[in-house]
Symmetry: C2
Subunit: 582 residues, 2 copies
């Protein structure tokens, strides 16, 4: 062992102990007669001291010439510091060094290895191994491993078995795009990397494994949006002989355990809300309920005048922004510009200021009187001093716009507090979703999700109205998990495939093994999958996942550190029986 | 919840309790006036009883018609059995059923779901979800998850952090063949699936993460030998600021923990042996030391007569097979045939019987006298009643043949006891291995392995003689782990690449990121990786890994259950910019 202690553990009680430390040179301060070196490792920083009185000339010189990020081994005696640093756990002591070995030198790093770094995103990614030395990234990775430990601990104690499912599986065109892996031994054929272990966990239920989980990498070849990764990690879970209620309780238990163990937050029963209610109250199927600003539907109280914009709209709705009445005309104009950005897509915005004197001032004063505006304020729950923002148009679009506005205002008002945790179950999702481009229905969750009891017949007459035994777990406005009770009856599954536009042949070619399995005694079952990257980020009080992933890819799916993907040899292509198009 | 109890937990103390059980019908026994149903779930089997006296006629009829593997829910009362079954944990009770719900029917399964099944390997793989219902497979999977839990527990308590490294990485021609993944967003470029997270764990050390582990899938596109899988699981570990001794101690600790927790076996310090010694004594770098039969080198005592076969051989060696003197001529001939099989490759075999009366009888009596044979017996440690088997030829080949013979005889003699555990460290492996076909040296472990201190210069003059800071952990004749102290100096690494025949350009193209990283303060580091599949199998007292993997592939790399790999759509190929050769 190169060290006797880490750089995070020495205290005053170690005084006069001979120690050997190793680590990286964070910085040196040279006062001429004395040189201090901050030595850093995973565990902290310890100050080394060299001085004219007690240190040999050669050693002092050697210390003086240490560069940033040199790797050193220092032997010496722990002594009490003259001026202590209360901000550092080791701040009461320093180590008076009598032997210094340079284990490795370092070029000057391309950015400072400090909490506040001068390195931009691209540089940090290219030199990720240096970025990981910074507390933020290092602590996030340690935090992530701690969350994973607690997940495994909780689920194991609940009788779940972690089973590894295969990574080289079969491509299925349904859903997102698969990454594929050409097979050399079976020329012209391909494996696919799993988008999730969905079918395998269902087969494990058929196999009697009754409580399964796995922390597992999944892959989706999608055009990457910000903060999406082509490979991501799921906590994948499935149970047999259960109903929806059992799953909600079990995984509410897991989440409660994590919040308690990781964040020290105790939360009672999680609130629940149907999908329809979430859309109505928040315009969003993953509402952040840490704050109010709920959507009010104004159709009844705003479509009785001669304001055609509202009268012709399917939906008129608003939110009350706390203390927004003091916004200047210019600020409100900027807000109107914001909702008109293509990402939001509103055509305009009507506003009402709820003045301190109880009167209202709106941008549509020529159409509506004070009583009208007072009614609106009542519907959206606006108080004196608030600003009511009103959008109108198609119901789903307008709700989505109001939701975006609500989140934006909450962000600006500091209502999205990272140390506050508000979990929420959203249930009763629609089974199917209409793809407006193709006019075809596809599964909102996936094709194995079961409809609510008694709604199977509705598939024939009003497919869009069928609700599913599907649920999401939402935390602070982010979907952290989603799942469903599955179909376990082969005839129901065949019906589902038919409604999703599969011919029996296509269904058989892609999912024949699952439909076969359902012939041999499939138990009732259901499950859930959590996105670990996002869960960890949110528990860590952040919303971007990238710094909770050791080696993330950029928005083009590239690992800029190792420079992947990259061309491969002709020989490799030949062995795989492949040619490039170009 | 569909059940109140599992099928494994009811005892006499539950008598008169109303319970609800769910599970699969293992079998029904119909005695006319009474019907017994064995109900099975993951936790065990519970007997259900229906009889004319206490059960309604309809219900009795329903029970009578249950098919094998039907999924049912049964409600009833726990009662004491008249004739108890001491072989079953629930054998003291049965459940008198008053309500029976068929949750799903089943076709007759293609093989019996019993400990002793009539299903052949192929059928079991095709219907793996049924195979998993069998105790053997199910228990193996549960056993595997238990081992993984203990691994994580031990390493976490030792301060290791589990860090997930990426699966979509960069192809490197060094070593085995990579599976590659075409990139759609970067046409003509490919990711590779990791053969191991080797470079990433080294980068984590450069990043200061100092104690890393990960239980992780790895991928090798090799022509599959029996009991090899294209995807396999490693316990991958790395430490910084350590020497070989620290790594051996840490992972000896892990292995000792597993043997104690999983197998209840306490083992003191693991023996250690250099590679050279292992080859000399056992002809094998992963010797099974649960039994003797060590190799004796007979050159000195067998090359002084006119027996040209021995005189012209580089190496003459033998082993003493306990109690082999009683073998008949026919049995010995079969043994000679066995060593002459192409898989073993010996040209012939000389034998010496150590008779009960102290005399010797050999197949080369016309060349050697009794004193010669007595000397041989002494060298190989043969006792009265033993059979000495002697092979000759090139040293390495002959040792390998003797090793194979030794293992075969141990197997036949029942010396490889599955409940006995004999771990062994093999150290000081050669750094390089000569590829006889190409005449080129390649890294025996991998190109990042450091030579023993002071041996770097030897690379120039006698590369084959250079020993590495490399070690394997052997358990019962299987390599369960292997690792090394890595190179952390960029110049040494460049020298290694040169000796492995890389031009500087090639080295840079493939490992530039690692060599770059080494410029920024790489600490001394080293690690080890365990093959989890094999480790679990051996701890489980078995040698084949397949039934410790939930969904294994066959020897052609196929998953016969899901029928993968398989052709993909032209559209998918087009999106990837690929064409098939045919």
């Amino acid at each position: 062992m190169y060290r006797s202690h880490t750089c995070g553990e020495l205290r005053e009680s170690h005084s006069n102990t001979l120690v050997t430390l190793t680590g990286w040179v964070q910085k040196t301060r040279d006062k001429g007669f004395v040189v201090w070196v901050d030595l850093r490792d995973r565990y902290g920083i310890t100050q080394l001291v060299f001085d004219e009185e007690r240190t040999s000339k050669d050693l002092l010189e050697k210390a003086r010439n240490l560069g940033r990020e040199f790797v050193i081994q220092a032997k010496g005696t722990v002594i009490e510091r003259a001026s202590k640093n209360p901000n550092l756990p080791t701040g009461d002591i320093e180590v008076l060094v009598n032997e210094l070995i340079i284990l490795n030198t370092s070029k000057t790093p391309p950015f400072t290895i400090e909490n506040e770094t001068d390195g931009g995103e691209d540089l940090r990614m290219k030199y990720r191994y240096l970025d990981i030395r910074r507390n933020q990234v290092k602590d996030n990775l340690i935090f992530r491993s701690k969350v994973a430990i607690e997940v495994r601990k909780y689920l194991s104690e609940e009788g779940f078995i972690e089973v590894e499912t295969p990574y080289l599986i079969k491509s299925t065109p349904e859903g997102a795009r698969d990454f594929v892996v050409p097979s050399r031994m079976n020329e012209g054929q391909f494996y696919a990397l799993p988008q999730s272990p969905q079918t395998f966990k269902q087969l494990l239920m058929v196999g009697g494994m009754d409580k399964y989980f796995q922390i597992v990498k999944c892959f989706r070849d999608e055009d990457l949006r910000a903060d999406r990764q082509p490979e991501f990690t799921q906590i994948d879970c499935e149970m047999a002989f259960v109903e929806q209620e059992d799953i909600l309780n079990t995984f509410e238990g897991l989440t409660r355990h994590l919040l308690a163990e990781i964040n020290g937050v105790e939360i009672d029963a999680f609130p629940r809300m149907t999908f329809d209610e979430a859309m109505r109250r928040f315009g969003n199927d993953k509402p952040d309920i840490r704050f109010g600003m709920e959507l009010g539907e104004l159709n009844e109280v705003a479509q009785h005048r001669h304001f055609n914009v509202f009268n012709s709209a399917e939906f008129v709705g608003g939110i009350a922004v706390p203390n927004g009445a003091e916004y200047t005309r210019k600020e409100i104009d900027k807000l109107i510009d914001w909702v008109k950005r293509p990402q939001i897509g509103a055509k305009g915005m009507v506003y009402v200021k709820c003045n301190e004197d109880g009167t209202f001032k709106s941008s549509v004063d020529k159409f509506y009187d004070q009583d009208d505006l007072a009614n609106w304020a009542k519907v959206v729950g606006a108080k004196v001093g608030d600003l009511i923002c009103i959008l109108s148009g198609r119901t789903d679009e307008t709700r989505a716009q109001l939701s975006a506005l609500r989140m934006e205002m909450a962000e600006r008002l500091g209502l999205r507090k990272s140390n506050e945790f508000a979990p929420l179950w959203v249930t009763d999702f629609p089974l199917l979703e209409l793809d407006e481009e193709t006019g075809r229905y596809h599964a909102m969750h996936h094709p194995f999700t079961s409809p609510k009891p008694g709604q199977l017949e509705l598939l024939e007459t009003d497919p869009g109205a069928v609700k599913a035994n599907a649920y999401d777990l939402v935390l602070n406005g982010n979907e952290i998990g989603g799942g469903s009770i599955r179909i376990h009856d082969k005839d129901v599954q065949a019906t589902m495939f038919r409604h999703l536009g599969f011919t029996p042949e296509e269904a058989h070619a892609q999912f024949g093994f699952l439909m076969d399995a359902f012939q041999y005694g499939a138990p009732p079952h259901g499950g859930i999958a959590f996105g670990l990257d996002r869960l960890v980020a949110i528990l860590g009080g952040q919303e971007t996942i990238r710094d909770f992933i050791a080696f993330p890819k950029n928005n083009s799916g590239r690992d800029v550190m190792i420079d992947a993907p990259s061309p491969i040899d002709q020989e490799q292509l030949d062995e795989l029986g492949l040619k490039l198009r170009t």
